[in-house]
Amino acid sequence: MQLNPPTRSSSLRSKLSTAVCILLASAAPAVTPAVARADPPATQLDASLLIYGEHTRAKVVEPTVRVSRLFADGQTVSAQIGIDVITGATPSGGLPSGVSTTGPPGGDGVVSVTAASGGGGTGPSPADLPVTRFNDTRVALDADWQKPLGVLTPVVSGHFSRERDYQSIGGSGKLSLEMLHKLTTVTGGAGFNDDNVFPSGGTRAPLSDSTIIVGHDWNPKHVRGGLVGVSQILSRRWMIAVNGSRSLETGYLTEPYKVVSQMDPGSGLVVGQITERRPARRERSDILTSSVYHFLRDVLYLSHRYYWDDWGVRSNTFDLKYRHELQDSVYVQPHLRYYAQSPADFFRFGLVQGDPLPAFVSSDERLGPLRTATVGAMLGFTLPGTPGEWSVRAEYIRQFGKGHPDYVTGVQRDFNLFPPVNIGSLVVAYSLAF
């Protein structure tokens, strides 16, 4: 006689469980983890390391560890810690200088901007976008709890993160209800985030030349949001879901270190730069439609997300993943993603000197006419003779956009103000249950 704790799911087991779920989907038995008194609680450990690099720009290294514990009554508690180490450079928001410069021997060029944390930035060639060098470390803690209560499953989660100039505290609650023999699941939830921005060197006055400091306090930012969703099992193989969310952000929504260049109306040369300014309110909404289709062995995931906000940003994201089983406990999952957004109403690559200042302006590329295309693949495997499951995911991301606006002048018309950026990302993950 032997009594075994529920331990890691092997690949055979997970395929079998999936097959059982597919077959019984229309009968809807309790496909929740089995519980017998003798069960000791099961613990799962997930660890991952993300390495992300934008060519000539930011680099991120992010180790994450997550521990989950499943109790005999179906209750799950998990906690996660993640540390991001970010170094490199980010576009300052300014325009290319338009002039060749030679710095002092051994020094950098002359186009430099104040940095978030770290040194100044340079634009060594006339057509290059100026960048800000920075480095920061972010620590994030997350915890969540869920417990099935019959057809209802409440989930409560909390979040805290801190980096040099930013702190975030948040929480959310979600309730899922299974209906119609578990073929349909309806989910509703709400959450909040209370964040604070402490710009390094003080908060600059908006639309100023960065030298006017209006305060050394924190700048609060609040987010309140809600979501609703429905998922539906259509057949033994096919499940679709529609989720919508809406959130309201208020407070300090400005990027403290981003600037907007002012160019000469004739030559287009940069003659000055001012800090950006964004509205203190942003209403964001999105609708995510997804589909999971199980073939006999393989699985196809498709999703589309439409996003819009009252800043004028509209975006579409198309995502496709295909999980292909190579052999027992080895699979490969190619991934394609395309993202396209329209710029915010107040997005400008630069302003023309002498024109009246707009109420709001930003040249943050994330609010611009941004496109990204992602090609990647994940390989999942186990190592013979060792417990746990491994995965390695590698992705190539190309970020690009329309960089020839008609409102720029002179030399700026010759430049692509949204030059393509090549990005690579690698994630190694390990999962172990015991």
Partner: protein, 276 residues
């Protein structure tokens, strides 16, 4: 189901209990009528008598065949719903009659899911082959019945079809369901072990009741589709607990088919199990 079946409902209302019982009985009879290989008026009979002709099947049958195909694949061919042909040459009556090797070899020519054409809800088998959904039918019926009862009855219940069972949740006041595991040496007489089950499916595979004696060795009724012979050196009784009766039943059958490797297999799968 050719075995004792019961439904336990923890409640004070007789009508509720009878409602659960009625649902389980109707579902059991429905599944038996549709998938029993002993009947001549169902889809299994139509498939087995098609003499090589393709047979289109309904959604539910397709689901079971897909499931069987997956089990065949993930078990490397050990789990095979076409192995029933072998039973014609074996008699498991507790006696010592072993078929001649030629008969086993001949029967093996008609065994192997890989010889079956199964696509787009149409199945085609070479003449002489047969499918038998007995290895999954009972567990499937348990989970199906439990799903149907759960939609109508909101009291805790347990469905037990011939020893393969599922519990919907803890009994009242968080008490567990007590489930005994038969002593494989004295089947039906004594429970060797008591499991306190709150929720999930339990299924047992073993050779307690049906076996044949060969050279002093006891050979159980579960046949290895690769050799045509009963699986050797398997534990007498393997009980598995997972979320569903079907998964437990499939895992215990796969474990039994591994013979002496049963325990190692179940440890690898991370399943909770009892080997007696």
């Amino acid at each position: 189901m050719a075995s004792p079946c019961e439904v336990l409902v923890d409640c004070d209302n007789r009508d509720v209990a009878e409602c659960a019982l009625r649902i389980a009985r109707d579902e059991a009879f429905r599944i038996e009528a549709k998938f029993s290989r002993y009947r001549r008026d169902n889809i299994v009979h139509a498939i087995n008598e098609a003499r090589g002709e393709p047979v289109p099947v309904d959604e539910e049958t397709a689901g079971l065949l897909d499931y069987a195909a997956t089990c065949h694949e993930i078990s490397g061919g050990l789990f095979d719903i076409t192995s029933g042909v072998l039973r014609r040459v074996w008699t498991f009556d507790g006696g010592d009659r072993v078929p001649p090797e030629g008969a086993v070899r001949e029967a093996l020519r008609h065994v192997g899911w890989h010889r079956v054409r199964w696509a787009d809800r149409v199945i085609g088998m070479p003449e002489g082959m047969e499918i038998d959904l007995g290895a999954i039918g009972k567990e499937y019926a348990v989970d199906r019945a439990a799903g149907l009862i759960a939609a109508e009855v909101h009291e805790p219940f347990l469905v037990n079809f011939g020893g393969d069972l599922v519990a919907s949740g803890s009994r009242r006041r968080q008490r567990p369901w007590g489930v005994g595991i038969d002593d494989p040496r004295r089947p039906g007489e004594a429970a060797l072990y008591r499991i306190e089950l709150h929720r999930g499916g339990l299924a047992t595979s073993g050779d307690a009741r049906r076996f044949v004696l060969h050279r002093g060795k006891r050979l159980g009724h579960i046949l290895d589709p690769r050799t045509g012979w009963p699986v050797q050196d398997a534990p007498r009784s393997i009980t598995v607990l997972t979320a569903t009766c079907l998964e437990s039943g499939t895992l215990s059958t796969l474990a039994y088919l591994k013979g002496a490797g049963a325990r190692e297999f179940l440890v690898e799968q991370g399943a909770q199990f009892w080997i007696l």
